[in-house]
């Protein structure tokens, strides 16, 4: 049997996986602060004795698209969008410092500032932020959190930790959708980072690019299917040529 079927099988399964990555991006087209997943094919030559003629295709995800998503004004005082490439530091469920661009914050009944999923938002000192009872929270442009109880002057509670990843230690997406540094070390707070309060960052998924990618992946899959059926008919012809009955 011709081994072309194994080669084109890897192509087809890689196209199907790309479809999954694109579908995930599209499904998250309205997720606050979502970063689109990038995907690429990798060629894996089969090394062995003789000529290296067969090269398999493998799908890989090479990280995320780092452009900021569109700003959506909500007017809610606890919504924030970090400017440029700054990230909010939160405490992940595993206790490590993680980073997110989803700035839809809440205050718990215990008065702690948390993300919409209940993870504690960290201050520039690396500690959770406590909001006094009955206070209205105002987020400053540099991440300053002040609480204002009516009739009293606003009091500073702390400052959100905003961190900007560098090229030497880029952020990577974890299985829980939060981002962490490649080295595992927490980033230093960036004193120059700024945020916009009352604004949420939309998903940075480019829907047009996704749709075109989906069509391309689907056609590629079809081509691999065509190759498989060609291989089958080749095989059949060879069988006829070699058959004793001729």
């Amino acid at each position: 049997m011709d081994r072309i079927i194994y080669t084109s099988m890897t192509g087809a399964s890689a196209a199907a996986q790309r479809q999954a990555v694109l579908a995930n991006n599209l499904a998250n087209a309205s997720t606050t602060g979502f970063r689109a997943e990038m995907s690429n094919f990798r060629s894996v030559p089969l090394q062995g004795s003789g000529a290296t003629t067969r090269v398999f295709a493998l799908e890989a995800t090479s990280g995320h698209v780092d452009t900021p998503g569109p700003a959506q004004t909500t007017g809610r005082p606890l919504d924030a969008m970090a400017n440029g490439n700054a990230w909010f530091a939160v405490q992940g469920l595993d206790g490590t410092e993680s980073y997110t661009r989803a700035g839809s914050f809440q205050v718990t009944n215990a008065g702690q500032l948390v993300t919409s999923t209940g993870l504690a938002v960290l201050s520039d000192g690396g500690a959770p932020l406590d909001i006094p009872q009955g206070a209205e929270v105002v987020l400053g442009a540099d991440g300053t959190v002040s609480a204002r109880v009516a009739g009293q002057p606003p009091q500073a509670v702390g400052r959100l930790k905003l961190a900007t990843p560098g090229a030497e230690d880029p952020l990577q997406r974890g299985d829980d959708g939060l981002f962490r540094t490649a080295s595992g070390e927490p980033m230093a707070a960036d004193p120059n980072a700024r945020l916009n309060a009352g604004v949420l960052e939309g998903s940075n998924v480019n829907a047009v690019e996704c749709m075109v990618g989906m069509i391309a992946a689907s056609r590629q899959f079809e081509q691999q299917m065509r190759l498989l059926s060609t291989a089958e008919s080749d095989d059949k012809s060879a069988g006829q040529l070699l058959s004793l009955n001729g």
Partner: protein, 260 residues
């Protein structure tokens, strides 16, 4: 089978939930004291099929990994408690809260409900009740011979009686605030209930302890922004369409596969 079919399904489901939330907001655009809701999306977990940085040989590492996301999920509906615009109604029993806080309402089961809807009425016994007939806590009774009712900014209810020029105090409206008012449980009929997430109510007189003041003769409109909701609706529809396209494409790929 194909992962992308199920991933795109999560996208369609999430957009459908978003549309439900938007429709609910739009249908309550004229509800007194209604606070708009918004759906909060989150990406689902990721399948780590090949760890980035894993050793391929003793000296070499994988330069890229393989992470497959499993779609999207609606994690919460977050309520936006910004002030709605105040509308003058002229009715002396209509009150609006200008600022933070909730009126307390006695529910039939004995517990307390919280509302921003201040379109109060009097029942047959002269008690101050909501438009659904629930008495306002801590209980204000207006005498039958009252000529006019005035409610002060701090919630003091006084009446004048025919033949007596001096104001008589008949009660005091109480108000409550919550540390996390977004965590209140909506109970319908413009009412909220205390929940584990909202924290305990902090009762105080209007105008004190961070509570808003009371405006007699005004009603608070809903804080739904119609333009915003319609733009959201268009976006939701398009996202829904794109996800259905992803399902269609995955289906076509499966069809090609089964034609082999």
């Amino acid at each position: 089978m194909m992962n992308s079919l199920w991933i795109a399904k999560t996208g369609m489901t999430a957009q459908q939930t978003q549309l439900d939330v938007i429709s609910h907001n739009l249908s309550n655009v004229s509800t007194t004291g209604y606070k708009r809701n918004s759906a909060v999306f989150q990406d689902l977990i990721y399948q780590n099929l090949r760890q980035v940085g894993a050793q391929t040989t003793e000296e070499n590492q994988l330069p890229t990994g393989m992470h497959l996301g499993l779609g999207v999920n609606v994690v919460a509906t977050s309520r936006n408690f910004t002030q709605g615009s105040l509308q003058q109604s002229g009715n002396s029993l209509d009150v609006a809260i200008d600022g933070n806080g909730f009126f307390e309402v006695q529910l039939p089961d004995g517990t307390t409900g919280y509302t921003r809807d201040g379109s109060f009425k009097l029942d047959s016994q002269g008690r101050l009740v909501t438009s659904t007939g629930l008495p306002i806590a801590p209980g204000v009774t207006v005498p039958a011979d009252a000529k006019s009712i005035s409610i002060s900014e701090t919630g003091l209810v006084s009446v004048t009686v025919a033949g007596n020029p001096t104001l008589q105090q008949v009660g005091q409206l109480a108000m409550s605030s919550f540390v996390n008012s977004a965590g209140l449980e909506p109970a319908g009929q413009n009412l909220y209930r205390e929940s584990a997430a909202s924290g305990a109510p902090q009762q105080a007189e209007p105008g004190t302890n961070g509570l808003g003041i009371i405006k007699q003769g005004f009603l608070e409109n809903s804080n739904v922004n119609v333009v915003e909701e319609l733009v959201n609706m268009i976006q939701t529809q398009r996202a829904y369409e794109m996800n259905s396209k992803a399902i269609q494409t995955s289906d076509q790929m499966l069809a090609k596969l089964s034609q082999l």
